[in-house]
């Protein structure tokens, strides 16, 4: 047991650096995929067939590609196109590209949960498109979107570990460093697990709370 705590105290800086980068990566990719995903979601519910097709193609291609492949493409193939980005940025872009496909789907299905009669009634009252969207559709759709959106971001937080395979020092990369230092890996991995539980459990609790609070009778 003493050894278990020693692993953390002896290598405190590594754990702090690792988890700081994990959180950084998570926040950057979360903002990025929220923006890109909302854009794609808007395309998928737009009245323009070309945009709908583009959004659908993007989502179907990305969802059927492993995230590790997206990482590998950005890290190994993209430099061959004379585009040079550092490893951290590559990781953030890979997570953004991948996660925005899921964000897009959450937005699309969220909008689709609003009964058509709601918008029809609003239009019958003479509301404009902007009014229908901001007063009727979005307030209902957003509630339906929040729980699945949080699932997507929880999954993304866990996915940041994949960056470890591509030269980014984050929580997932700690075991590789520890292997060099000869620390007991079981303890190391348990500490990483605890770290992720600390990050994830509040998100899960918040999600369940919002789900209960915002459950809409339809």
């Amino acid at each position: 047991m003493g050894e278990f705590f020693r692993v953390l105290t002896d290598n405190g800086q590594l754990f702090v650096d690792g988890f700081t980068n994990t959180v950084k990566l998570f926040l950057i990719a979360a903002v990025g995929s929220l923006v890109l995903g909302t854009l794609l979601g808007a395309m998928r519910v737009s009245p323009v067939p070309a945009l709908r097709a583009f959004g659908a193609t993007y989502v179907n291609l990305v969802r059927n590609t492993p995230l590790t492949l997206v990482f590998a493409f950005l890290v190994f193939a993209v430099p061959k196109l004379d585009v040079n980005i550092d490893y951290f940025a590559s990781a953030a872009i890979a997570l953004t590209v991948y996660t925005s496909a899921f964000v897009c789907e959450v937005i699309r299905s969220g909008v689709n949960t609003v009964a058509a009669g709601q918008a029809e009634a609003a239009r019958a009252l003479g509301m404009t498109f902007a009014q229908v969207l901001t007063l009727i559709v979005l307030p209902q759709a957003l509630r339906a979107m929040v729980p699945p959106m949080m699932s997507v971001f929880i999954a993304m937080l866990k996915n940041t570990t994949i960056a470890a395979g591509f030269s980014v020092l984050e929580a997932g990369a700690i075991p590789a460093y520890m292997a060099e230092r000869g620390e007991p890996q079981f303890a190391v991995l348990l500490w990483i697990t605890i770290g992720f539980l600390i990050l994830i459990l509040p998100l899960v609790a918040l999600q369940r709370f919002l789900e209960r609070k915002w459950r809409v009778a339809r």
Binding site: V45, P47, N60, T68, L81, D82, F129, T161, I162
Partner: protein, 301 residues
């Protein structure tokens, strides 16, 4: 598959949530937007194509090794390693899921509580960390463990836990009246589960199971990180060959095409199952959706 008219109606009702059926002016505006956005998309693709051509990605040198039977064999070998890991992990995950789902559904708290703990825990740990448990720990103590099994164990624990949640949701989705009815005609608990609940639950959760298996197949790519020689790993080796001008781009495009073809076919199967189950239910339970948002199928209910 819905016939043309049904699909038309579905499209209309989907479209009309946000906007009315377009009139002449809106039609014109949409047409203009359509032309502009098509041009934009074409410009984007053209730029990517230009960038590819500019850096010589279309040179014959970078593509010629894919004509060699040995390279094709290498790719097939990688694909086989991927499918092998996915196949073994799928079987084990289904078993794991079945055992833990039945423990969670048990009346006895002594079974229910630990099963709940295990399932919730493994769903919260990043899959790569689970794989690392199977990889680094034996490595340190000098036990020899095949990388395949490190990967398979991680995949089994994570996907098995998600599947346990899907199974539990599937059983719970069968209306309680079915159970009551079965008990009323004198069936025992075992019979109720086997003859009444399971046949209906399986039908309702089949789409969700298939799409979780797609997730599992995609996740075998994590084997790349522990240098298990699966498709992505083979792709890195083929792409790193200097005599062919480091053809990373062509190789990864081919590898991506293989993944997309296989996973796409399985996803299509999930959707088809969902449509079919929705049309001719044969189950009193609501069909659980093939997951389409997030990796966390259990949250879809």
């Amino acid at each position: 598959m819905p016939d043309g008219r049904e699909r038309k109606v579905a499209e209309l009702s989907q479209a009309s949530i946000l906007y009315d059926l377009p009139g002449p002016r809106a039609k014109r505006r949409n047409a203009i937007l359509g032309v502009v956005s098509t041009a934009g998309i074409i410009a984007l693709l053209a730029f990517i194509g230009y960038k590819f051509a500019d850096t010589g990605q279309f040179e014959a040198r970078k593509w010629e090794q894919f004509q060699y039977a040995s390279v094709q064999r290498e790719l097939l070998g990688g694909l086989w390693a991927t499918l092998k890991a996915a196949g073994i992990a799928a079987v084990l995950a289904l078993l794991f899921g079945a055992v833990f789902a039945s423990a969670r559904l048990s009346d006895k708290w002594i079974l229910r509580t630990p099963a709940t703990f295990v399932v919730e825990l493994f769903r919260a740990i990043p899959l790569l960390i689970l794989i690392f448990f199977g990889y680094y720990v034996p490595l340190q103590y000098g036990w020899s463990i095949d990388k395949l099994w490190a990967l398979v164990i991680g995949l089994m624990l994570y996907n098995g836990s998600v599947l346990a949640e899907i199974f539990r949701a599937g059983i719970n989705a069968v209306p309680y009246g079915q159970t009551e009815g079965a008990y009323a005609i004198g069936m025992r608990k075992n019979q109720v589960l086997r003859l009444i609940l399971l046949p209906q639950a399986v039908r309702s959760m089949l789409p969700a199971i298939v799409s979780q298996l797609v997730v599992l197949l995609k996740d075998t790519a994590l084997g790349f990180i522990i240098t298990y020689p699966e498709l992505l790993f083979v792709g890195k080796q083929i792409g790193g060959r200097l005599p062919f001008g480091l053809p990373y781009v062509p190789t990864y495009l081919i590898v991506a095409a293989i993944y997309i073809a296989i996973c796409g076919a399985l996803s299509a199967l999930a959707w088809w199952l969902q449509k079919r189950m929705g049309r001719t239910p044969r189950t009193a339970a609501k069909v659980l959706p093939a997951q389409d948002a997030g990796e966390d199928a259990a949250r879809m209910i």
